[in-house]
């Protein structure tokens, strides 16, 4: 987008009640993640579940509170690309560490 001299800022028409609803959803998910962590034992799947719930919460915050829902593709690109790089960092670091073969037995 280049200079167009627009003076009008696009406003997002969110109302208060939708924010309240989002907050309640976040609270519910938090309670849910704590409960599943304490009460349910599904071994290593617990961390997976916790991360899925955290990601749902994070997406809700980003989409609604941070208005990502209303943003253009460019903002989406720069919101997601760092996550991809983070994935690369974690993935290759783990891959490297756990495929090492000890030289001395």
């Amino acid at each position: 987008m280049s200079i167009e001299n627009r003076d009008h800022i696009e406003e997002h028409h969110t109302n208060i009640w939708s924010y309240v609803f989002v907050l309640l959803a976040l609270f519910t998910l938090t309670a849910f993640t704590v409960l599943t962590a304490i009460k349910v034992d599904i071994g290593s799947l617990n961390i997976v579940l916790a991360m899925i719930i955290a990601s749902v919460k994070a997406s809700i915050v980003a989409l609604f509170f941070m208005h990502l829902k209303f943003e253009d593709k460019l903002t989406w690109l720069y919101a997601l690309y760092p996550l991809f790089l983070l994935f690369l960092l974690i993935f290759f670091t783990l891959m490297e560490t756990f495929t090492r073969v000890p030289v001395l037995k």
Partner: protein
């Protein structure tokens, strides 16, 4: 361009206002660019002097110039840290980027002028922190590898803190440039009309923005490791010293491209002007900058082939490393195709641009050798690596930087330098550089390890040759510096657009007015339409 530059002597140049605060507190991107230029040049010369001292030590196999080997270690640490973090990384991107980006895209300033000033001052604070560390400088090399950096008693904390602060400056600059390019282009300045320097600066800015934080946290962890003993990098506590290398190179490999991509941009500007031809393969050059920026995040393990990493990972990364050669080669081919059948004028900046292509190709190809797993095991940590790195960094980035200095000089100051002296100094720099570093390929291949103050006698003749070369190189840079400084005081006033360039920044008076454009231009054609009219 029409005639917007009609010599209107009434305008006020950006250099007109004098006084300390008029500079120190300026938000004018041009002034900030000049301030960066002066600061990085200072550090370049300082780091160059440490290199000359090291080369002087290496004249003989014994330790004679320095009194202890630690002093030699301190010298190469200073040389590396200053050159990498204080000159090359912020260098072209911040100084030339600041000056040129708004002019080239037809904007009055960058998107966040005050933040831009802050970046400069943060950079300066970083340099001050580093300078205070000089009292007892680190001896770890610029890479600060654990476990040695944790164990050594020298001042690693201050030096890494300095680099950490610099990172902030780099991030803010990168963010500023990305927003500027997206939001402030003049009407009609579409992506496919942008000068290639802008594409290059944009790709660099992505790396600055997204790679730098990782080195930030790495250095922070190193500081914590030293001060709080957190044990992330300490095997005795369950940590992993190679984790440091993984983190460090996740930044520092992309950082290599932070250093060199802006130089690609400069070469793409200089060559079509002095070949009087449209740039060949515009899109290929533009997109390959992006390809490099993206691929550079996949290859960092190739710095660590012999540090005990997994063979599986090493093999994968050796393969991935080869991918970088493709976009880089695309650029070289396109520059050569631009030169083909052009009417070439050997301006001093063009000489630097041509030496860039020649030297960078050597640097790049030896990089492919080093990326090959089996070869690297033999060559790792030898002078071969030193030579490769300097062919890329000096032969690439610094040649591009010198070319830019000579190319945009009239734009910055509205003055010009002595062209004959410039050509002479170019000759000395080119010859001196090759005499210094070409022998190092052979030394390294024969097994001369890097970072040693003493060496077996068999290497002496090559070392002596290399040291003589460093003197020629030093002399060349000295003459060039004097020539450029003298130019400011000369009375010769060049034309506003001495090279008849079509790029937007030349379509205005030199030096540019404070506000850049009285009226924002409307762009109707491609930047490189040479020979069309």
């Amino acid at each position: 361009m029409a005639n917007g530059i009609a010599a209107d002597s009434t305008y006020e140049s950006y250099l007109a206002k004098k006084g300390f605060t008029a500079w120190a507190l300026t938000t004018d991107h041009k002034r900030i660019g000049i301030m960066y230029l002066i600061t990085i040049s200072f550090f370049f010369l300082l780091a160059g002097v440490t290199a000359l001292l090291m080369r002087y030590e290496l004249l003989t196999p014994e330790l004679d110039f320095f009194s202890t080997t630690t002093q030699y270690n301190v010298a190469f640490t200073l040389h590396g840290s200053l050159m990498v973090f204080f000159f090359i990384v912020p260098g072209i991107a911040a100084s030339l980027g600041n000056f040129l980006i708004p002019l080239m895209i037809g904007a009055r300033d960058v998107a966040f002028p005050r933040l831009n000033l802050l970046s400069y001052w943060v950079y300066l604070v970083g340099t001050v922190i580093l300078m205070t560390a000089l009292a007892q400088p680190a001896d770890t090399g610029w890479t600060f590898y654990t476990p040695y950096s944790v164990e050594t008693g020298t001042n690693v904390i201050l030096i890494t803190l300095g680099v950490f602060v610099l990172g902030f400056s780099s991030i803010l600059t990168g963010m500023n440039f990305i927003v500027t390019v997206h939001k402030l282009r003049a009407p009609g300045m579409t992506w496919n009309r942008l000068p290639l320097f802008i594409w290059a600066s944009y790709a660099t800015a992505i790396l600055q923005l997204l790679a730098t934080p990782v080195v930030g946290i790495t250095l922070l962890l190193l500081i914590m490791e030293k001060s709080l003993d957190i044990g992330f990098f300490d095997p005795a506590k369950g940590g992993d010293p190679i984790l440091f290398q993984n983190f460090f190179w996740f930044y520092s490999h992309p950082a290599v491209y932070i250093m060199v991509i802006p130089a690609f941009g400069i070469i793409s500007e200089i060559i079509p002007v002095f070949a009087r031809k449209p740039i060949f393969g515009y899109r290929a050059i533009a997109y390959s900058s992006f390809a490099i920026a993206i691929i550079s995040f996949f290859v960092w393990l190739h710095h660590m082939f012999v540090s005990g990493i997994s063979e599986t990972a090493a093999a994968i990364f050796s393969f991935l490393t080869m991918l970088v050669a493709i976009p880089t080669a695309i650029k070289v081919f396109n520059w050569l195709a631009t030169l083909y059948k052009g009417s070439i004028e050997f301006h001093s900046s063009m000489l630097y641009a041509l030496s860039f292509i020649f030297l960078f190709t050597i640097g790049g190809l030896t990089g492919v050798f080093l990326g090959a797993l089996a070869v690297d095991v033999h060559l790792h940590d030898t002078y071969f690596v030193v030579a490769h790195m300097h062919y890329v960094m000096i032969g690439g980035t610094v040649m591009g930087f010198f070319g830019a200095l000579h190319f945009w000089y009239p734009k910055w100051f509205g003055k010009t330098f002595n062209e004959l002296t410039a050509k002479a100094s170019w000759f000395l720099v080119f010859v001196g550089f090759n005499v210094t570093f070409f022998p190092q390929f052979f030394m390294g291949y024969q097994g001369m390890p890097r970072r040693y103050a003493t060496y077996p006698e068999q290497f002496q003749s090559a070392h002596v040759l290399s040291t003589y070369g460093s003197w020629i190189l030093g002399l060349g840079i000295f003459i060039m510096t004097v020539n450029l400084i003298a130019g400011i005081f000369s009375r010769k006033v060049p034309e506003g657009n001495p090279y008849k360039s079509l790029s937007l920044e030349w379509q205005m008076p030199s030096p540019p007015p404070h506000n850049n454009f009285e009226d924002i231009p409307i762009v109707t054609d491609w930047t490189y339409a040479y020979g069309k009219k």
